[in-house]
Amino acid sequence: MKNNKFTLLILGVVAVTGFWISWVSLNPSDEKAMATFVSVNELINNKINKRIKLGGLVKDGSIVISETNQLECNFVLKEGSSELYVKYGRTRPDLFKDGAEVIVAGQYNNGIFYADELQTKCASRYEGDLRNESSYNLTEVLQ
């Protein structure tokens, strides 16, 4: 058998794959498949209507859990000096607390960010909290 038939075939496979990957990249089936990552500042300054993702720290003391439904909570997300009011109504990850690093995904509307996804920095990364490389959280310190 001629070798160039195989070359053609390989090129075919490459072409089909290229087409498939770019097609899915442009037409994701699920709205949760993609989200634009923006900073809190960008979000507040340009109204963005599509699904977005943001990262930041939970502002100390800002978590308020609804009296009637424990699942519902709101908190303030801090990124640098910018702040964003976030509402979230599903099971919260265990590591979600004041000062935690979180990523939220959802929609922004009239000053409120409605998150449908809330991730804390994953403990599975098996690494101590190194947010500030030089800080230890030593439990007991002898002077």
Binding site: M1, N3, F6, I10, V13, T17, W20, I21, V24, S25, P28, S29, D30, K32, A33, M34, A35, T36, F37, V38, S39, K53, G55, G56, L57, I65, N69, Q70, L71, E79, R90, T91, R92, D94, K97, D98, G99, E101, I103, K121, C122, A123, S124, R125, Y126, E127, G128, L130, R131, S134, Y136, N137, L138, T139, E140, V141, L142, Q143
Partner: protein, 654 residues
């Protein structure tokens, strides 16, 4: 004193490494045997000092010497000894040292094993391994040194401690398993690289690295499966795979390595695909380093505020260094990499292997594309677009199914070409079974990919059965053996082949498990004692809410009675909400944790999470998931390991 010795050992290792490489380069120029011996011993010295450094760090961890920054950061006096040791790979600098430690074990074994073998190849093999060591030595010496003293102007009485949630035996063995896999590929790579430099195309070195490759592959596979298992049991999002960048980082080299394991068979048997194999092993090794980079540099998960690290640029440099040097040399050796023989027909096992290889690489590229999509989109369009699991599932499902189909088709094809008669003979049974399966699954009401996947599982299983049947029948006819004996004989006479089929069977079972994901159901709701809610045809009644104080945590336990829609009792589930360090006056140091309870059968898992509790109203907030067929994934994993062990089992020397 001793921590300083550790630092000195690392520096010495670095120096010895440079000397070893120089000496061996001189040997290549002057061909003086003494230079080779010196180089070899220097290389062994590098490993020796790395062993020493690792033992010193482990010792510091065990005796809790908090003068060492690393020890203070990841352990405390209360940490159980086993987790003090596992803290060796808990943090960044320690895990890089641990990488080096494993590489040094492999390097030492390789050097000692080949003292009287592969004389032409060994100089460059040692150079490649040592250069890799040198790279990691630069990191551990100058960028993130595990022996760095604590930078505090007071005496540290107790350390930070390891996150209690990570004090879990799976989590202690998952990273080293993965590392053994990652690092293991440096040996086949070193041989390939050396063969490339030496213009050696004999199938000899291929044979000697086949075993290494399989061992590394086995560890990588186990590492990946263990990681999924741990996530499923502990993390409480109900899944085992999320296409997280770090998961992808381990999956990409696994894909190219799997392709390599298949295609070296062709080079061994037919001396074809030399160029392709070379490219694959270079790619696999590069992806291993790239994977360590993704895991350790924090580049991918570091969306804005997450940990930035100085490791990134150095790692990227090394990745490009390997690629440019290896592919550069490959380019100058193109003439010898031309295989003397060509594939003769589409319906040959060779072409089956070639197809399988292409699809593996395509899948790897798809994963790579998705993983780097945020970076790519930011570079091209200026906005960072992140992609989630649905994106990966959409792209990879059809590619994975094609691979599954090839798992069945490949073994049915003959070498060189399959005549139309044997084509019909080989394919009739599996195809008929497959068609029956399609009809049955449609009648049951399944749709789309589910039908395709399940039917392909039937097809592949029938094909593997056919292979076993043919082998057994041949022996029975020839030697008149019993079925049992014939089975034992065919497997032991051809371990790599039948071991491979058993691995394929494991993969089929895993695919059944993956397909079950299409039927997952979940619901979040709140219950007061005595109330009932329904999920996927099951009824959940909250019987009791109890509290309990235990040594290092406080727990709220909800007792759920699960019955099916006919009212038959299934099980009681006891998910817990815990707070670790509940006595700590600093509320931020208290650590909430949801301890799941899973009722697992081959048919489905009922997965319960106690999200939160409202103490005033005695209300439990629960998340319940019904995940069909998950257990098949773990069973498939066991079978995969079993099959690989058969393929690896050495023959008795005659």
């Amino acid at each position: 004193m001793t921590p300083i010795a550790g630092g000195v050992a690392l520096s010495l290792a670095f120096g010895f490494g440079l000397l070893a490489v120089l000496t061996l380069l001189f040997y290549n120029k002057y061909q003086d045997q003494r230079l080779f011996l010196v180089g070899q011993r220097l290389a062994l010295g590098v490993s020796f000092f790395i062993f020493l450094a690792t033992f010193i760090l482990s010792y510091q961890l065990i005796i809790s010497n908090f003068d060492v920054d690393y020890v203070a950061r990841y352990t405390s006096i209360e940490t159980p000894t086993i987790y003090k040791i596992s803290a060796l790979w808990a943090g960044q600098s320690g895990s890089l040292l641990f990488w080096l430690f494993i590489l040094s074990i492999f390097s030492t074994i390789t050097i000692l094993q080949n003292q009287h073998k592969h004389h032409e190849l060994m100089p460059w093999v040692i150079i490649s391994l040592t250069v890799t060591q040198i790279f990691f030595l630069i990191l551990t010496n100058y960028v993130t040194n595990p022996f760095q003293p604590t930078e505090a102007d007071f005496i540290v009485a107790n350390g930070n401690g390891l996150n209690p949630l990570l004090q879990n035996i799976t989590m202690a063995i998952h990273p080293p398993t993965l590392y053994l896999g990652y690092v293991g590929f440096s040996v086949p790579f070193a041989f390939a690289f050396s063969a490339l430099v030496n213009r050696d195309t004999s199938p000899l070195w291929i044979q000697s690295i086949r075993r290494w490759t399989l061992v590394a592959w086995l560890f990588l596979s186990m590492g990946i499966i263990l990681g999924g298992w741990w996530a499923y049991q502990e993390l409480g999002w109900g899944g085992y795979w999320a296409w997280d960048p770090v998961e992808n980082a381990s999956f990409m080299p696994w894909l190219t390595a799997t392709a390599f394991i298949h295609s070296i068979i062709i080079q061994e048997k037919k001396d074809m695909l030399r160029l392709w194999n070379m490219a694959l092993i270079i790619l696999t090794f590069t992806l291993c380093i790239f994977g360590t980079f993704l895991t350790r540099s924090g580049v991918m998960s570091s969306v804005h505020s997450f940990t930035e690290s100085s490791l990134g640029p150095i790692f990227l440099f090394f990745v490009f260094f390997i690629m440019i040097v290896s592919f550069g040399i490959m380019y100058t050796r193109l003439d010898v990499l031309k295989s003397p023989r060509k594939i003769e027909s589409f319906t040959s096992r060779e072409s089956g292997f070639l197809f399988n290889n292409m699809v593996f690489v395509v899948l790897c590229f798809a994963v790579f594309w998705g993983t780097l999509f945020p970076v790519i989109s930011e570079a091209v369009r200026g906005t960072k677009i992140t992609v989630g699991a649905p994106f990966f599932n959409q792209i990879n499902t059809p590619i994975g199914l094609i691979l599954l189909a090839l798992t069945g088709i490949g073994p049915l094809l003959a070498w060189r070409r399959t005549g139309s008669k044997s084509l019909i003979r080989n394919f009739t049974f599996p195809l008929v079974m497959c068609v029956i399966a399609v009809i049955l699954f449609f009648l049951v009401g399944f749709k789309g990919y589910v039908v395709v996947s399940f039917s392909l599982c039937v097809f592949v299983t029938s094909a593997i059965m056919t292979e076993f049947y043919k082998g057994i029948r041949a022996r029975k006819n020839k030697f008149n053996e019993s079925l049992h004996l014939a089975l034992m004989k065919i497997v032991s006479k051809n371990r790599s082949r039948y071991g491979g089929y058993i691995v394929h069977l494991g993969i089929v079972l895993m695919f059944i498990g993956f397909t079950g994901h299409a039927f997952d159901r979940e619901k979040e709701f709140s219950l007061q004692v005595g109330q009932v809610d329904h999920v996927a045809g099951y009824e959940f009644e909250l019987l009791k809410l109890t509290e309990s104080e235990r040594p290092n945590h406080y727990a709220w336990i909800s007792e759920l009675k699960v019955t099916d829609h006919q009212g038959t009792f299934i099980t009681n589930l006891y998910p817990e909400k815990r707070v670790y360090f509940h006595r700590n006056p600093d509320i931020n140091r208290r650590q909430p944790h949801s301890e799941l309870d899973i009722y697992s059968t081959l048919n489905k898992d009922i997965y319960s999470i106690f999200s939160s509790i409202d103490n005033d109203n005695k209300t439990a907030f629960l998340k319940i998931m019904v995940n069909p067929l998950v257990r098949w994934v773990w069973v498939g994993g066991y079978i995969l390991v079993f099959g690989t062990l058969i393929a690896l089992w050495p023959r008795k020397e005659k």
